[in-house]
Amino acid sequence: MNWLTLLMVLPLIGSVALAVLPKENEKLVKQVALASTLVVMGATIAMAVGFQRDNIELQFVEKYAWIPSFGINYALGVDGLALVLILMSTILAPVVVLAGWNESQGGRWSVKTFYILILVLETMMIGVFAATDVFLFYVIFEAMLIPVYFLIGGYGSGERSAAAVKFLIYSLFGGLMMLASIIALYVMSGAQGGHTFDLAALSQLQMSSMTQNLLFLGFFIAFAIKAPLWPLHTWLPDAAESATPGTSVLLLGVLDKVGTFGMIRYCLTLFPDASKTFTPVILVLAVISIIYGAILAIGQRDLKRLIAFTSISHFGFITLGIFAMTSQGYSGAALYMFNHGFSTAALFLVGGWMISRRGSSTISDFGGLQRITPVMAWMFFLAGMSSLALPGMSSFVSEFLVLVGTFTRYPVHAVIATFGIVLAALYILIPVQKALHGPTTPGNENLSDLNLREKIAIAPVMAIIIVLGFYPAPLLNVINPAATHVIAQLGFSDPAPTSGGK
């Protein structure tokens, strides 16, 4: 049974169904959208159940010729990492639909269009993680931009079109860098036994270290833009500020993961040596992102921008973990990707509710919410705690794994990165104090607290955050084999205890 194709087709069916529905009946449109995302989620979980943990091979593999004359296949398959990310995406989708029930109103186009875009995007989100053919990956990687572009530009707020363009140009530029590398790979594969885009085959290519470095950069720049790594991050705050909360969740929670996912799946696998060559630089960039993002977050006045910058900091952690080349770092990073998806979702959704109620996203416009809207305030607080990786929250496990894993090989980087956790306390508690504590500022005396729909939407997110905080094993068991596999392939093994040189 072609699970992955099924997963990709289901949302498309949903979007087609939406297309035929009448524009006017918005309620029905939303219900259908929600239903289809739920179906996809169910299917994904059903698939995940059948996943064999300890098998490091790709699973649920599918392969059909697509453009034979270029040796391009429609090839899908998942390892532990991809599976986890697909799970995350498909769980987040219904949450976003439910949480952003009304955010599609007041857009340039109809509610219907909004959800069609969302569903198309979901298909691509699944495909981009499942693709095992580099060309297919690239196609989806680029095509994904279009729906997001319209989601931001069409339904966002403020300088939405400018932000959308910035996002698109940035990403396209990165994408073209990657295209150049892909072309080079393709040509080389032709020279070395037949044109192909099969990831496994390409990873066997022989190439001079010079070439490898250049091609690596081509890929890495694209991914460093996606998962905003300092200094390629400036599109993210604008995009997040303008996009609707739901879009932001998909953008930061899922799409940006493609960047870090790509670093693992493509940079490390295709260019092991180059990866090692560039590791020092990348680690520094990662550490800078952690600290820089955190400090900038502290300095923000706008709630959405603040969240965006916290994400930049978090992506720094993920990158750090990936390139630490230890099983703890890798598993930590992988788990981090998953957790970040949910803690960012929590922050953005609750933040979004606060903003839509108050009609402003300036932090200082809030105040004393804890007295007026206790539940909403609590949810925001919990989301914040998860974002600053409080023990007991899932994000703690991943963050600590990253730090420990990094420390064993790159102590200095780890130590600097750890300062991020103090800054995290600041960038969360400052908005918490301004928005939730203190006397009620005029203008939000009679904001309404979360309604049932919103509670239902946020509950699973919180549940996941907390449950995984105490019991991350289910995910770790899936990730670990992949982790050890990749690390081993790169010729690394976890450093043995040094006994401090005694």
Partner: protein, 505 residues
Amino acid sequence: MTFTAPVLNYTLLSPILILLGGALIGVLVEAFVSKALRSIVQLSLTVGTLVLSLAQVWRIHNETSMSAAMGSVIIDGPAILLQASILIISIISIFLFADTDHFTALAAALPGSEEERHSLETGNQVTEVYPLTLFAISGMMLFPIASDLITLFVALEMLSLPLYLMAGLSRRRRLASQEAALKYFLLGAFSSAFFLFGMAYLYGYSASITYAGIRESVVGGSGNDVLLLIGIAFLSIGLLFKVGAVPFHAWSPDVYQGAPTPITGFMAAATKVAAFGAMLRIYYTVFANAQWSWTPLLSVIAIITMLFGSLVAIAQRDVKRMLAYSSIAHAGFLLAGVIALNKAGLEASIFYLFAYGVATVGAFAVVTLVRDSSGEVTDLNRWKGLGKRSPWVAATFAGFLLAFAGIPLTSGFIGKFSIFSAAYESGAKGVVFAGVLSSAIAAFFYIRVIVLMFFTDATQDGTSVQLPSALTRATLVISIAITIALGVYPAPLLNVISNLSTFIR
């Protein structure tokens, strides 16, 4: 010395002969059919001719590898493909001619003269554009299959002269239109002089006017290289002029803007196919062995062309000029295919030519729809909010723009990928990099237009989208369908191309 009677293979020539016949009939129709029926008759005649010719091409497509007319033309795989592309593109663009509102009622009449007004009122619409088009097409058909210099030159003029005239036929802004014609004509003639001079030197170098003969001397390396090089250089000027490569591009923005939009679309698409077709044949067969001499020059020109086209396009405020510059940039990309000088390059170029041609026709078709009381509106600022007023038209246009930008799942991406990879394979890494870079720049202005259409609010200035006529709609639907189809599942076409595309030498 004795003359032998020429032996002609009419089957292989039939597509062209059909076109010429149709054109001649068209002239007669123009003379004798009543003005009421004229347009409809002309249109159906033209379309019929084209379809017939296409059918003929289909019939001969597998009896290829034969030289007709005593080796002065060659019908081989690429020839078939190119001719087919030209015909298909012509068919979908001819639909746009149907809306006579584009064309002056009486080209001979003075702009704004009594005479003109009268013929407008009486609906005395001359329709010489159709036969002209057919003549041009037949020239285009001949251009890429010519295999000696005479035929090449004649074909060049055959396709150029009608186009010069057609550029001046616009009903609105006639002064500009005539100016376009003048510029196109003067510069065209100028460049063809270079072309001719180059021919002379090639003849001098090889003592032969057939491709085969010239290639032999090139391979043999006998003879004076200076003659050869000057020959190649000047011949190239003629060809590069036709495809609009920098610095021989200057005519294209003005002509594209001045000419009636349907003509512009037809010209931009079909001429490129023909010119590049001829170019590919010449460089791949005749000059292949002198590669060392021309690839560097061509590479430089290609790089300059890509970057120039993309950069200047950013600064345009007129849709047609913007498309003109984008077509310059695309000429640069296509040159990469010529430089590649390998089978992959040939296949890629042919695919690219077809895909790009179709998308171009479609794009200009959209341009014909955006109007106000005084005709077409090409000022980009007045395209604001198009997406709100008529989402489908805007979406279609966006589709073509994305194809131009080479976004995946559009034909443009496959074309770009294949042509760049071919160029890279032949070691032209610099060209590829420039190509990627300029694609990034290009993306910028394509997106700008999309933003204008979708994300900015309309200005109330009477700009409106005319409801597309059935034929225009057909053009739009066909071209967008092809554009998407070739992006999603190009395998079939690519297979056909790779089976057919080998030049007969």
